[in-house]
């Protein structure tokens, strides 16, 4: 009986394998890879929804060149490296994606970047801030504010504009938060500030009372807590319970609207850096996009979703550009030259996205303005938009 069971299993598998190979009608596919299940399922969901909006908008305008429809193929990498490899393999070789928005976690992005490079698929990560990501290949971009630039600008702002000089840091032991903490520390101390204490917790930790007690003993003027919303809400909650009153500084992870659900009015007053809201600079796109997102998904988008929306649009603009220059039969069969797509993206200058003005540097990292926000009763009020130009903190004004 067992023999039959195993052999039948083989046959079903082979049959289904052949079935799924049949050709669909001609579409241009954009891939998304991120955690759709498990602890960080919410990140994957928020970001893939943003990409879906971008693609639906473009299809309403007739798709690429008015004829070819676009499709989003979202694969779940469960935040794990082996699943990310399997996901990218399928996206490249089965769905023949032209561009990829993803992956979400740096660990997955690092694993799939070489594969995208070899397959000449432009990969724009909206959230992986690992330093070495874009060095893995010419096709590897990122449009999230890298830790370095965000932390540099924020450190200068805190020193020069807020005038704090004794800061404590409480970060998480993961690549995102650790990177921000280290870069903030180097920049802040090179500007003469002092990091008087540095404690760390684990992602998914529930209890930070111990670290807070140690930090509070050093009487810092403010505490910098780069991390994700769940942990930051805990920190704020437990600090209040312990009667700790201080100024709180955070990073773009704080921009997730969930923070108001989780921390309630404790979030008020927290100052954090994020991709800027350039509507004051004549960029109404962000407000418009957020309204559309809220209407359709009943959730406000976080900063990573903004980046995903921009990444998708940049990829589609590149496709449109390459499509226009392509020969008629290339156009009919929608076969676009990957190198040209890459070059278009690489040469992007001052692209006005919902996450701010985007320019890709020579190392394919992104040069973006940094918005400084303060949370106030369920709203993020922008204090100003800043940039570092040859070592000087400049405010970007209309």
């Amino acid at each position: 009986m067992i023999r039959k069971l195993t052999y039948s299993f083989f046959c079903i598998f082979l049959v289904l394998l052949l079935v799924s190979c049949k050709k669909q009608e001609v579409t241009l596919n954009i891939g998304f890879s991120g955690p759709m299940t498990g602890d960080s399922a919410n990140y994957g969901k928020l970001m893939s929804q943003a990409v879906q909006i971008a693609i639906d908008e473009r299809n309403e305008l007739g798709g690429i060149g008015g004829q070819i429809k676009l499709r989003m193929i979202a694969e779940d990498d469960e935040g794990k490296v082996d699943k990310a490899n399997l996901a990218i393999e399928k996206l490249i070789n089965v769905d023949h994606i032209v561009g990829l928005v993803g992956a979400v976690f740096s660990s997955c992005s690092l694993a799939i970047a070489p594969k995208c490079e070899q397959a000449q698929v432009v990969m724009i990560s909206p959230s992986s801030t690992h330093k070495l990501l874009t060095s893995l290949g010419k096709y590897i971009f990122r449009n999230v504010l890298s830790d370095e630039s965000q932390a540099k600008v924020f450190a200068k702002y805190v020193k020069e504009k807020l005038g704090y000089s004794k800061i404590a840091i409480l970060n998480l032991k993961n690549d995102y938060s650790q990177g921000l903490a280290d870069d903030f520390k180097t920049q802040f101390e090179s500007d003469g500030g002092k990091i008087i204490a540095m404690e760390s917790g684990l992602q998914g930790d529930k209890d930070f009372k111990t670290q807070l007690t140690k930090l509070w003993a050093k009487q810092p003027e403010a505490i910098f807590i780069p991390g994700y919303v769940n942990e930051m809400a805990q920190i704020l909650q437990q600090a209040k319970d312990m009667g700790i009153k201080t100024h709180w500084l955070a990073a773009d992870g704080f921009s997730n609207p969930e923070i108001f659900d989780l921390a309630g009015d404790l979030a008020n007053g927290v100052i954090f850096s994020n991709s800027p809201d350039e509507s004051s600079l004549g960029n109404a796109k962000k407000k418009e996009f957020e309204a559309k997102y809220l209407k359709r998904f009943k959730q406000k988008p976080d900063s990573f979703s903004l980046n995903s929306y921009d990444a998708a649009n940049i990829l589609m603009d590149a496709m449109q550009f390459v499509y226009n220059e392509a020969s008629p039969d290339d156009q009919r069969s929608a076969n676009l030259n990957p190198a040209k797509i890459r070059n278009y993206v690489a040469d992007l200058e001052d692209y006005q996205g919902v996450s701010g003005k985007i320019t890709f540097l020579s190392n394919r990292d992104v040069l973006k303005n940094v918005g400084i926000f303060q949370a106030d009763h369920k709203e993020f009020v922008q204090q100003g938009i800043y940039l570092i130009k040859d070592g000087q903190l400049l405010e970007v004004v209309e």
Binding site: T37, E78, V81, S107, Q178
Partner: protein, 296 residues
């Protein structure tokens, strides 16, 4: 589609190695240990550190060091815990696994902490370049290991050492009163199992090109145990079948393309359902324990 199948074949091979190691420890010797992920992490990190150091070693020496590190940790974890029985051994080994992961996460100087180690280069086997970009070569490379290990384990199963392990599983008290130094046999079995998992870790690190601590969590160890139990404890061939079933089920939605249509949660639910159903109808595993072998 072919290269996706090749990739699944590669991961099937890597998980098969883990399952073979687990089957030696749990299937043959009856030690319920849940720390294959830790040994895999040791193998992966040893490879990552050596290959990214300024004088990376050739493949042959790398394999020797990975096997050595694997069996060293196998002994370090095996010795203290082997006095324990059943579920207590499972938990203690699970604990050790988490400690290893925790150390990797915090020993920033060597292991890069949460950032892990990236840019792990490909390796050279004689003239052939073993790299993640050439999947068919990598598949043969991985399954070469599986073949050698499988042959070795079959030999071991029929050898006196294998017979001693089975005796220990059947009745350790009787075995010890017949003059068998049961602790020594158990530790050696643990070391061999650990070395095999370390090799799997090496293959994993070279393919992914980067290693981070988070991917070696205790769910991976539990999944490996599931593969062995699903196939049938004590039977090496069954361990391969069990691995294939689990790898295929978890990848079925992606393989057949409907991973795009249904929410990802449904894939996981499908996986859970199949596990429950299989256990109800085949509690002793798909192929069950091997019928007593004839002794030529």
């Amino acid at each position: 589609m072919i290269s996706l199948v090749l990739l699944i074949g590669i991961y099937f091979g890597i998980y098969a190695l883990l399952a073979l190691g687990q089957n030696l420890i749990t299937g043959m010797t009856g030690l319920l240990s849940l720390c294959q992920a830790a040994f895999m992490a040791i193998g992966a990190y040893t490879t990552a550190i050596i290959l990214t150091s300024h004088h990376p070693l050739p493949l042959a020496e790398l394999i020797v060091i990975v096997v050595f590190m694997g069996s060293l940790f196998g002994a370090m974890i095996g010795l203290p815990t082997l006095r324990l029985k059943g579920d207590y051994l499972a938990i203690a080994s699970l604990g050790f696994g988490e400690i290893v992961k925790n150390v990797l996460l915090n020993a920033d100087k060597f292991t890069g902490g949460p950032m892990g180690i990236t840019h792990i280069p490909s390796v050279q086997l004689g003239r052939i370049l073993i790299s993640p970009y050439d999947k068919s070569v990598y598949l043969i490379f991985v399954w070469g290991f599986v073949g050698v290990i499988l042959w070795g384990l079959f030999r071991l199963q029929r050898s006196r050492f294998g017979r001693a392990l089975e005796a220990i599983r059947e009745d350790e008290v009787a075995a010890s009163s017949l003059g068998l130094n049961t602790t020594l046999y158990k530790v050696v079995a643990f070391m061999i199992g650990a070395a095999i998992s370390a090799l799997a870790g090496m293959l994993w690190a070279i393919y992914n090109g980067s290693v981070i601590p988070q991917s070696f969590d205790f769910m991976l160890s539990i999944m490996v145990l599931c593969m062995v139990v699903l196939g049938g404890l004590g039977n090496y061939f069954a361990a391969l079948v069990g691995t294939m079933v689990i790898v295929i089920i978890s990848e079925l939605p992606r393989l057949l393309g409907f991973s795009v249509l249904i929410p990802a949660q449904l894939d996981q639910i499908l996986f859970g359902l199949i596990l429950v159903i299989l256990m109800i109808y085949r509690p002793e595993g798909l192929l069950g324990r091997p019928v007593s072998k004839r002794n030529s």
